[in-house]
Amino acid sequence: MSAVTTSFPNTAAGWQLPSRGKVAMAGLIIAESAIFTIFVVAYLFYLGKSITGPTPGEVLETPIFYTICLLSSSLTIHMAAKCLARGIGFAFLGFWLLTIALGGLFLYGTAEEWHRLIYEHGLTISTNLFGTTYYSLVGLHGFHVTAGLVMLLTVAVLGLCGRIGIKQSGHIEVLSMYWHFVDAVWVVVFTVVYVLGR
């Protein structure tokens, strides 16, 4: 056994390490990307393999408008984060609420599409392989949009109560990373389902 004095040399100045919020969100994004990859692989693998039922070409309509909504919400959340970093609270809140509205519109669009598929074309998750993989993939994405919207709404409420200031801009950036991720996933899902899949 030996005793060691715990007097270490003086703390070096300029020791900079990344922000833990950003690193953690990057980790979460990596993990979620892996989950989505598996669902995308299943979707692609099962293309053309359904034994019965409607095919993608017969029933899918490309949701261009709602896609534009979602993708522009990335722009608005980016603007919101920038405004907050510069301390312009009002603009931040404006862009933030716009983001929520655009995200909400996207979800509405998904709901509308699902309603049409179910009631007009009789396509459900249990109809055939296409139904299973389509609803799972788009649904998983929609679930992530919903989770994101819940967080965005929470921030909106806090913001309206005046609790979000320049000090929270780090947290807002982390949240916007998540939102950008959700949009990036939609680009992939959109390409796989509506472009390649038909």
């Binding site: 056994m1 030996s2 005793a3 060691v4 004095t5 715990t6 270490f8 040399p9 003086n10 703390t11 070096a12 020791w15 390490l17 990344p18 922000s19 833990r20 690193v23 953690a24 980790g27 979460l28 990596i30 993990a31 979620e32 892996a34 989950i35 990859t37 598996i38 669902f39 299943a42 693998f45 099962y46 393999k49 359904s50 034994i51 459900t124 998750i125 249990s126 055939n128 392989l129 299973t132 993989t133 799972s136 998983l140």
Partner: protein, 557 residues
């Protein structure tokens, strides 16, 4: 004068009521306590999983035995495998990582203490869910309780049609829940290592344990999530009428296998890499030399992490992939043996020229080296796909992976226990009981798992609750079972050691092993805040520099 003396605050030591103590433990966010909780819960499940193994070994002692029914036996191997992987190995390794990583990087806690607690309790809940199946579920043909589909739950056996009732769902949900816990811990480890290192501790100066847990955490993010995805798909099949793995609707049973093994293979590297981490800390200290080839050890580990993502279908050599696919997975599997072998050579290089001290941690480490060598080589034997067409799904595979998991991971864990128990509790584990534990376990282990390779070569498949006499398997199985009981006794000795030494062990002091990483610079057990002042380091072995100011590592790095 009144006998009511005035108590001066701070001079009275009050024993806290046990309810209070329990409350502290249940609500803790301290990485050290959470680490210990992980380890204790893993020990609990280790004993349970061990009992399941013993039940199986009793049943297999003789041909056509009827100690248990086939239904019970099938539940036993399912639960044993699931428990050991998800509720023993993962938690105990996360527990050590939790305890040690912040200490080794000079930090006061993990990056996200509350996420840490949440991840632990999720993991523990998963274990409870799995075992609740014994009372809540119902298995094949409604014959009651725990899942019996094997720990891989191959499609379509896991489908509603072949696993009615809820037993299979307990399996799915338990793994889904604990999987999310694992992802939480992995994110925490990565954030801690990247963001909380003390000044001077560049990435190239981190202890190897920290490096290897960082790599492991990265792998968890990419490998555990495919399992979660597959579990979600299975639930959709079972409850929403989905057809992911429904072969009658054109679905593919092979797709489940791919998804499962894309998780399953990296998973075993997720388990072995922290074990390598223990070896890389313990072997240098008991050889009295630094690790041989630190940069190569890091590089080899990163290499293993990447290559191990490309070998998964070596678990599927018999499913009928074409010859090109079989050849591909054969060569990637052989390739991953190269960096792994390099690590073994570096450990031997560390001992070479040293002054080896045969304390209990080192005994387990030396046994690890020998056993992991054998395990790796039986892996290489199976990497040759045609050979695997014979050996796959037989007791040879069972022997191989137990050699890795028990002979490798568990031995490394025992070494870690003996090495860090003094730091965690302030007491030394008994060397005498340690040596009894070691030798008993070694003998039992080899009796069981060396012999177990032979029935495999003689044609005995796995997952069978009984077998025909006259195949040459009878005596071998008896010997294997005897070895299992010897291991069980050794575990009891170990548990006794843990308990007795807690109360009677010699006081450890800060640094009982004369080691070199930061955790040995503070008291045993450490104070809640770890470091009174955040240390600054100038080399990979800060305490070596302090103890040998005339010859510090910083001069050579």
């Amino acid at each position: 004068m009144s006998s009511n003396a005035i108590t001066i605050p701070g001079t009275q030591i009050q024993a806290r009521p046990w309810v209070d103590e329990l409350h502290q433990w249940v609500t803790t966010v301290d990485h050290k306590r959470l680490g210990i909780l992980y380890i204790l819960s893993a020990l609990l499940f280790l004993v349970i999983g061990g009992v399941e193994a013993l039940v199986m070994r009793i049943q297999l002692m003789h041909a056509q035995n009827n100690f248990v029914s086939p239904q019970v036996f099938n539940r036993m191997f399912t639960m044993h495998g699931t428990t050991m992987i998800f509720f023993v190995a993962m938690p105990v390794l996360f527990g050590f990582a939790n305890y040690l990583v912040p200490l080794m990087i000079g930090a006061r806690d993990m990056a996200f203490p509350r996420l840490n607690a949440f991840s632990f309790w999720l993991s523990f809940l998963g274990g409870l869910l799995l075992y609740f199946s014994f009372v809540g579920g119902s298995g094949l043909y409604g014959a009651g309780n725990a899942p019996d589909v094997g720990w891989w739950s191959y499609a379509p056996l896991g489908a509603r049609a072949f696993s009615p009732g809820h037993s299979s769902d307990y399996w799915t949900l338990a793994l889904l829940v604990s999987g999310f816990g694992s992802i939480g811990t992995a994110i925490n480890i990565i954030a801690t290592v990247l963001c909380l290192r003390c000044p001077g501790m560049k990435i190239s100066r981190m202890p190897l344990l920290v490096w290897l847990n960082l790599v492991m955490a990265g792998m968890v993010l990419i490998a555990v999530t495919p399992l979660s995805a597959a579990q979600i798909m299975l639930l959709i099949d079972r409850y929403l009428g989905g057809h992911f793995f429904d072969t009658q609707a054109g679905g593919s049973a092979v797709l489940w296998m791919h998804f499962f093994w894309i998780f399953g293979h990296p998973e075993v590297y997720i388990l072995i890499i922290p074990s390598f981490a223990f070896m890389s800390e313990i072997i240098p200290v008991f050889s009295r030399k630094p690790i041989f080839g630190y940069p190569v050890m890091v590089g080899a580990t990163v290499c293993i992490a990447f290559v191990s993502m490309s070998v998964w279908a070596h678990h599927m050599f018999t499913i009928g992939m074409n010859s090109y696919a079989n050849s591909f997975f054969a060569i990637t599997t052989m390739a991953v043996g190269v960096p792994t072998g390099i690590k073994i050579f570096n450990w031997i290089g560390t001992m070479w020229g040293g002054r080896i001290q045969f304390k209990t941690p080192m005994l387990f480490s030396i046994a690890f080296l020998f056993q992991f060598l054998v395990a790796g080589l039986t892996g290489i034997i199976q990497s040759s796909a045609p050979v695997d067409w014979q050996l796959s799904l037989s007791y040879f595979v069972v022997a191989h992976f137990h050699y890795v998991i028990v002979g490798g991971i568990l031995f490394a864990l025992f070494a870690a226990f003996y090495y860090w128990y003094p730091k965690m509790t302030g007491r030394m584990l008994s060397e005498r009981l340690g040596k009894w534990h070691f030798w008993l376990f070694l003998i039992g282990f080899h009796l069981t798992f060396d012999v177990m390779h032979i029935p495999g070569v003689l044609g005995m498949p796995r997952r069978i609750y009984t077998y025909e006499p006259g195949r040459g398997w009878d005596t071998l199985n008896l010997i294997i079972s005897i070895g299992a009981f010897i291991q069980a006794i050794a575990i009891l000795v170990f548990v006794a050691n843990l308990v007795i030494s807690y109360f009677k062990g010699a006081r450890a002091g800060n640094d009982p092993w004369d080691a070199w990483t930061l955790e040995w610079s503070i008291s045993s057990p450490p104070p809640a805040y770890n470091f009174a002042t955040v240390p600054t380091v100038a080399s990979r072995r800060p305490l070596w520099d302090l103890k040998h100011p005339e010859d510090p590592d910083s001069r050579y790095e």
